[in-house]
Assembly symmetry: C2
Homo-oligomer: 361 residues x 2
DNA sequence: TTTCCAAATATAATCCATTTCATTGTAAAA
DNA sequence: TTTTACAATGAAATGGATTATATTTGGAAA
């Protein structure tokens, strides 16, 4: 009886092997059969359990290597209820900022044995929800997200993701959501940028402010406002919802008509638009009109005149977000920004190597 | 007996439900139990099989919606042996070219119901192999890849990926590998760029040639060479392995010392380096020295003087690669390049709106 | 009325790794 | 010698969906 069973098992093995030549799918059962042990032992041996004899582990590892075994992670994930995939959701990967955040996160996550699934939302809430559901259905180990502009609040996020998957928000965050958050020091950064403009002698400083449903942009607006206040200047003009070159251009014209001699822009592309607006009105930069952008996009250092920009530290933000996920720690991590002073805001040459004065919040 | 079994089933359901409140994992078995049918019927109903009564299908769909069911794709993938994930492997996602390819591929794949897993190799063969294994282990539906510079040939690729996963190569391809390929028309593009320089009156045109283990760079070199030949000019200087700003700068200096009055560069960053080299030698651009780069990076249109560049069409390449995967068709797809004529190569003003003359290969 | 076919559904195997619980064997303690 | 404890491994259940095969049912044809 026992012999018969062995016989039939052998047959099964032969059949399996003939399949193997077609597609190389070695399972732990194959290894177990080859060694005369059970799949559970093989599983334990391969996953580093202390509950197998060292000798057995070596035999299993050797046989696994010999047969070209590779763990079927799909099956493994199903059983364990989670995968080694971490999802990252960003508005647009081709934005320098986001691709660097991804790079930073990846550098940490890859070393920790995770791989990274990237989703773009194109700033649409609907796409964000879909991405969250996709990630949940794939049972990802965690999600790092920077919200689409179209997302108004965090309620929908939890519905779509569920509450058992760790969530780390970065850059654009909703305070009301649980989990870790990583943000730039937007207030302090905008404060420094504005103060720099004041120190360069600009006296009528407006701002291109971005979207107010983003806490990052809101904080930059407040930093700008506080700097003006602390410097004894009157309230300046605010141009909302300016993110891209075109709206930056239009807002730039309005700012010039309103008498501004400088702008702090919460984005680089809108700042570029403002530069073009100033040029179209015959103003010289930085002599007649000063500009500081935000994000330190590649082009800012290559254009003429080179553009001052408040640099985010996306790579570090990505690293921090990944760390927060790995450590499972809640709370807010603040990544400092750095003001890159270039030609567009520097009419006082002795100030070229300015180091900004931190404000007391 | 039957009654007893039903009873115990009811208990099980109640227990399940109490779990449900903790974590919402509704399975097809739950739906089946609620409706008094079997899981197989529910599965068929939800996957659109014609083998269920319309009435049953509606009841299942309604109950699924009511209970908040979402398919466990991990389990589904395990059974079906493949997933709805398509892997994209690129050297660096923050490169404009690659992030746009990804965007193009994503636009097609998402519409077809796939999601996209992105891997970076940082130009390292080792990382490329690891990415391929990761994707295979996750049983992705297909892989789109642009090889790392470190990858010398295609042999290792098949070993790592296996032969049952569709592979589409783009931009940097190995001809010897099976499967679809999508490439830019590098020969024609470089030919047009070089011819443009000749038409602007440059007579000693060198090239910054990139890495010769990449067929794309090799084709650009040949296009440049053929244009010189067809134009009756002698062989020009070739500077290999110049990709980044620094090597472009060094090669630029050498080219100037060798008497070149223009360069066709197979990359934009190296072209930028060459611009700086020319400036450092006091040459005016484009009057004394002409340059055309390749890739149409964002900064090329924003710098001063703006830089002519041979534009790739990365978004379209991504679309084509995704289409090739979806259609399962082998063969090579060629995406045309477009010469963007800007200031750095235009000393003949009547030529500003040049449209390039195609060459006969 | 019986027979047969097709539609609809049920049963059970399958995908593969993991994990709980049970069993065996061996050495140390009583 | 017997009990105790532990190490090592086996057996079987589990995760959730899919699918090959089997069964039931209803209606048409004989």
């Amino acid at each position: 009886m026992t012999k018969l069973r062995k016989q039939s098992c052998a047959n099964v093995c032969i059949i399996r092997n003939s399949f193997l030549s077609l597609r190389p799918m070695v399972t732990i059962s194959d290894i177990a059969a080859a060694l005369g042990v059970t799949p559970s032992t093989v599983s334990r041996a391969l996953s580093g359990s202390p509950r197998v004899k060292e000798e057995t582990r070596l035999a299993v590892e050797q046989m696994a290597a010999e047969m070209g075994y590779e763990r079927n992670v799909v099956a493994s994930n199903l059983r364990k209820g989670k995968s080694d995939i971490v999802g990252i959701i960003v508005p647009r990967i081709h934005r320098n900022f986001f691709s660097n955040v991804i790079g930073g996160a990846e550098s940490i996550l890859e070393a920790a044995g995770y791989c990274v699934l990237i989703c773009q939302t194109h700033e649409r809430l609907e796409a964000e929800m879909k991405a969250l559901r996709t990630l949940r259905n794939n049972q990802v180990a965690g999600v790092l997200i920077s919200h689409a502009i179209g997302a108004r609040d965090g309620k929908h996020i939890l519905d779509a993701l569920g509450s058992h998957i760790p969530l780390v928000q970065f850059d654009r965050v909703f305070s009301e959501l649980p989990g870790a958050k990583v943000v730039s020091d937007n207030f302090e950064g905008a404060y420094a940028a504005t103060r720099h403009l004041m120190e360069q002698g600009y006296r009528h400083i407006g701002t291109l402010a971005g979207y107010m449903n983003s806490e990052a942009y809101a904080a930059r607006l407040e930093g700008w406002r506080q700097a003006l206040r602390d410097g004894g200047l009157p309230e300046g003009e605010v141009y909302y919802d300016t993110i891209v070159r075109e709206t930056g251009f239009e807002a730039g014209l309005k700012a010039i008509d309103a008498g501004c001699d400088a702008l702090y822009s919460a984005g680089d592309f809108s700042a570029l638009g403002a530069v073009e607006a100033a040029r179209s009105r015959g103003l010289r930069i930085p002599e007649d009109f000063g500009i500081v952008g935000t994000a330190n996009e590649t082009f800012t250092s290559l254009m003429t005149p080179s553009m001052s920009s408040l640099a985010l530290n996306p790579f570090e933000m990505g690293r921090q977000a990944a760390q927060a996920f790995l450590e499972g720690a809640d709370g807010v991590r603040v990544v400092p920004m750095e003001l890159k002073v270039r030609e567009s805001s520097c009419r006082n040459h002795s100030e070229n190597q300015i180091t900004h004065t931190p404000c007391l919040k």
